[in-house]
């Protein structure tokens, strides 16, 4: 019905014209609800105004509405269209009503403009619409200044709908309203706009999520991604979409909010190439040169047409471990007589660009071993680790060197990981020295920059201190500075805060996450602390006895744990509140009475079946016989033979 192609809108300025919209392609079918999200200044409203013929800018490209070209229309034609078959609910609607006319007159105005003289009909329609939007007949005679914000919004909606438009634009329809009013208005919008096509413009993701079937992401005048709304918010492909979703506060989310690094580019200094590249963490040379085109994305397999404008094909997968198995000889010093302890039993795990993956598990569950395999410190006995889709142990020397640079590990117990014979300068310089990067001067600069990042002093005195002169928190920062000095793409952090007291721990973790956001590296966070993992991780994996038993978005895992072990962990999660009087929930108390095994037991117990079988309340013969596969349930993955039917149904919701 509405087709926008290669639309460029620019405003004249002293220099070259400033494009607000840059080659936008968009299509809205009859009856479709399309959302448009983006930060302020991304050109959302300019697009809306252009569609209404109200934009003063220089326009290029074409916009066709019901087969007619809109950009070539003159003012009179526009007046026919506006408030007729296209109408709009403006931002800051309070200012759109004039205080000198009664509400009824203002609501009827567009209709009278279309059909002059049909006052009876206009009045009838006004009253019925006001009723529909929840305002009584008495409101016809009231003046705008006697109305509350919600009522103004309702009457604006009535005004927009009075001509029964085929296409309705909602620009920030509920942004300035309180939560309950917003909810009512949203419901209203949903009901009243059933028959027309709608373009919902908002910076507020939840509004769009409620109203739109499909959503497009606008950034700096360019469309970056377009997808079915639910998919877009569940699994955004473009780094910018992901960042938007991350920055949005919800009640379900357990992760700390993260802003998007950098600032929205100003109109006059729009970057060449991909508009997002200065803030993107996976920029290639090509991103700086060429503008990506909105194309069909290949990544998604189940349904929905997804469009994406990214040279990298969306968020890149940086690290993948495939079927990793690691064993340690039990004793007898490697002569193979005593048998092996399977520390990691066939784990598949991946880490996306700029993502935080938190791996939780008790000590001895194989977390560190897995982390070391992923960081390339140890070579797993079986399975492969891929960095940017190349197997680490099959790389050429040069590639391996480069990978070493990109893949850093922050070791458990920084006191031990830092040689006490090196001073701070030498410690932080060590990776550079080993890799032979730079000369003394440039190394010094890199070291100072790295120390700045972790907020340590960089003066001569501090540079010459030795580890035994530093506190635990400082040591951890030095270790972090050392890992960051090479500007890695992936950081595997093994219990980065375990040995620190709570306040220092909070500082280190905040610092780590802040740096993760700013520097954009992917973080593989290994911890035994579930609360910490939930706070830090985008995704979370729960490990027990060398298996990942459950995996999924942190919020899902915390609010709806599926595996019995995850539930157990959640129950044992640290809390400052007194435990409530134990109610006798059969399902919960069932898991309570089983005692956990020792580490060796954990790993040895069940070499063929489920690691958790011995402790699990629900285990049966099959648990001891077969290792449960990791099954997808919604956005979660669980490895358990005994997922009840109730849980299975979640998939279909």
């Amino acid at each position: 019905m509405l087709k926008i192609s290669e639309l460029t809108v620019s405003f004249p300025s002293t220099g070259s014209p400033l494009p607000v919209l840059d080659g936008v392609n968009l299509q809205i079918e009859a009856g479709e609800k399309l959302g448009l999200v983006g930060e302020s200044g991304s050109g959302k409203t300019s697009l809306a105004l252009t569609l209404m013929g109200l934009s003063p800018g220089e326009k290029q490209g074409s916009v066709t509405f019901q087969g007619e070209e809109l950009l070539e229309k003159n003012n009179r034609e526009w007046e026919q269209l506006r408030g007729g078959s296209i109408s709009m609910v403006m931002q800051q609607s309070g200012e759109m009503l004039t205080p000198v006319l009664s509400l009824g007159k203002q609501v009827a105005e567009p209709y009278l403009k279309q059909y002059p003289g049909r006052k009876e009909e206009a009045y009838r329609r006004t009253v019925s619409l006001l009723k529909q939007v929840g305002l009584g007949e008495s409101y016809v005679h009231r003046y705008p200044y006697t109305l509350s914000g919600g009522e103004v919004q309702r009457s604006m909606l009535a005004m927009a709908l009075i001509t029964e438009p085929a296409f309705l634009i909602l620009d920030e329809p509920v942004s300035s309203l309180d939560a309950l009013t917003r909810e009512e208005i949203l419901q209203l919008l949903k009901n009243l706009t059933r028959n027309c096509s709608v373009l919902v413009i908002s910076h507020d993701l939840s509004t769009v999520a409620r109203l739109a079937e499909r959503t497009a992401v606008l950034y700096s005048g360019c469309l970056l991604e377009k997808a079915p709304t639910e998919e877009l918010f569940q699994s955004p492909l473009h780094p910018y979409s992901r960042a938007l979703v991350r920055a949005y506060p919800t009640l379900e989310g357990v992760k700390e909010l993260q802003g998007i690094r950098g600032e929205v580019p100003s109109l006059s200094f729009r970057p060449r190439g991909c508009p997002f590249h200065p803030r993107c963490t996976q920029t290639l040379d090509r991103c700086r040169r060429e503008r990506p085109i909105l194309e069909e994305a290949v990544k998604n397999e189940n349904g929905g047409q997804r469009m994406l404008a990214c040279h990298r094909g969306g968020v890149v997968e940086l690290l993948r471990g495939r079927d990793i198995r690691s064993c340690y000889p039990l004793d007898g010093g490697g002569n193979g007589r005593a048998g092996y302890l399977e520390a990691v039993r066939g784990v598949d795990v991946y880490l996306d660009e700029g993502e935080v993956y938190a791996l939780v598990g008790e000590s001895g569950s194989g977390k560190t071993t897995l982390g070391k395999s992923l960081a390339g410190v140890d070579i797993p006995n079986e399975g492969e680790v891929y960095f940017q889709e190349k197997a680490i142990n099959k790389m050429s020397r040069k590639e391996a060197r480069e990978t070493r640079r990109c893949l850093q590990m922050l070791f458990q117990n920084s006191g031990e990981a830092l040689s006490h014979r090196f001073n701070v300068h030498d410690l932080v310089a060590e990776p550079l020295v080993i890799q032979g990067i730079g000369d003394d001067l440039s190394r010094r600069k890199a070291i100072e920059r790295s120390l700045d990042w972790v907020r340590l002093p960089r003066d001569e005195d501090f540079m010459h201190r030795y580890p035994h002169q530093l506190s635990g928190g400082e040591l951890q920062r030095v270790a972090l500075a050392r890992a960051l000095v090479m500007e890695p793409r992936v950081l595997v952090a093994d219990e980065p805060s375990a040995s620190l007291d709570a306040s220092v721990q909070a500082k280190i973790i905040k610092l780590l996450l802040h740096l993760q956001n700013e520097r954009g590296f992917a973080l593989f966070l290994i911890t035994h602390d579930l609360a910490l993992a939930a706070r830090a991780g985008d995704r979370m994996g729960v490990m027990y006895g060398g298996m990942i038993v459950e995996e999924g978005p942190s919020s899902r895992l915390v609010h709806r744990p599926l595996h019995p072990y995850t539930r157990r962990l959640l129950q044992a999660a640290p809390t400052l509140e007194l435990p409530p009087e134990e109610p006798s929930h059969a399902s919960i108390s069932g898991t309570e009475n089983s005692t956990l095994q020792s580490t060796a037991d954990q790993l040895q117990a069940n070499s063929s079946g489920c690691s958790y079988a011995k402790v699990c309340h629900w285990s049966s013969a099959i648990c001891f016989r077969e290792k449960p596969p990791l099954r997808e349930i919604g956005s979660q993955k669980v490895a358990c033979h005994h997922l009840s039917a109730e849980l299975q149904t979640i998939k279909h919701r």
Binding site: A375, V377, L418, S419, Q435
Partner: protein, 283 residues
């Protein structure tokens, strides 16, 4: 664990004494030509003359000044023992690291060899071998080096095993460090205190063995050595000259061994955290 060993030794009174004595000995050895009143090989006075002002320790059976002999003997003793210690410690270091790093068959061979060597009575072997070859200074140095490496090797091997799994090794490997870098920047520096202690122990044993062999007459007869002096003086005990001829070199040997022992013990206690805590408690 970061310890300033020098401070630790200075805190220990006996250790301090050891340092002073060793310094004194080294000074004497280095400054022998200046300190000695006479050329120890020259005939300077009637043989077997008792102490007098010009010859404080008298002369020996061929009329050489005993004090000068004693001073030059310090040179020989220290040269032999320190060289032997340097070589044997180097062997310990290399072999110990090889065993610890490469493991496997090589390690097993080295360890069994050490076991065998530890069982052999070192002094007896030294005696036989030295008696067979021409027992010059070089022979003794080589001999001692070959005989005294096993105990140190074993300690170093042990330490390497525990060191190489420490975090900073793993970290350096993760940064892409090669074996050479790991050895030089991470492993060997960690071994310095062990090497120092081992070095001093070997010096001590070498001093004793050198004196012993020379006392039994197995040494270049022309050289000046405390052991040789004892060897010759023993034959003239009946003249009553032992107080100024036999006793001084004997005391010198004892003093040297004690000096190195004191130094060694205080270093060792500085190394061992449990022993160190005791010294802190005393202060």
């Amino acid at each position: 664990m970061h310890v300033n060993y020098w401070d630790e030794i200075k805190k220990d009174r006996l250790g301090k004494l050891g340092v002073i004595l060793v310094t004194l000995l080294v000074t004497i050895a280095l400054g022998a030509p200046l300190l000695a009143p006479y050329d120890p090989w020259a005939y300077v006075a009637p043989s077997l003359s008792p102490p007098c002002w010009s010859h404080p320790l008298g002369t020996n059976e061929v009329g050489q000044d005993i004090l000068s002999e004693l001073i030059y003997g310090t040179r020989t003793t220290l040269l032999v023992s320190v060289s032997a210690a340097i070589f044997s410690t180097t062997v310990s270091l290399v072999v110990g690291i090889m065993a610890g790093i490469f493991r496997g068959t090589l390690e097993r061979i080295i360890l069994r060899l050490i076991d065998v060597m530890l069982v052999i009575p070192v002094f007896l072997v030294a005696l036989l071998v030295a008696a067979y070859f021409q027992p010059g200074m070089v022979t003794l140095i080589v001999l001692f080096s070959l005989l005294l490496w096993p105990p140190g090797t074993r300690i170093i091997w042990n330490r390497v095993l525990s060191l190489k799994n420490q975090g900073h090794f793993t970290a350096a490997r993760q940064f892409g460090a090669g074996t050479a870098y790991l050895l030089w920047r991470h492993l060997v520096p960690e071994l310095y205190p062990l090497l120092a202690v081992n070095f001093i122990q070997v010096v001590r044993r070498a001093v004793f063995m050198e004196a012993g062999l020379a006392f039994l007459g197995i040494f270049d007869p022309g050289a000046k050595s405390w052991g040789l002096m004892l060897h010759y003086a023993r034959e003239f005990v009946f003249t009553g000259s032992w107080t100024w001829w036999l006793l001084p070199p004997g005391l010198a040997v004892s003093l040297t061994i004690i000096a190195f022992a004191l130094l060694g013990y205080s270093l060792e206690s500085a190394l061992d955290p449990r022993m160190r805590r005791q010294t802190y408690a005393e202060n």
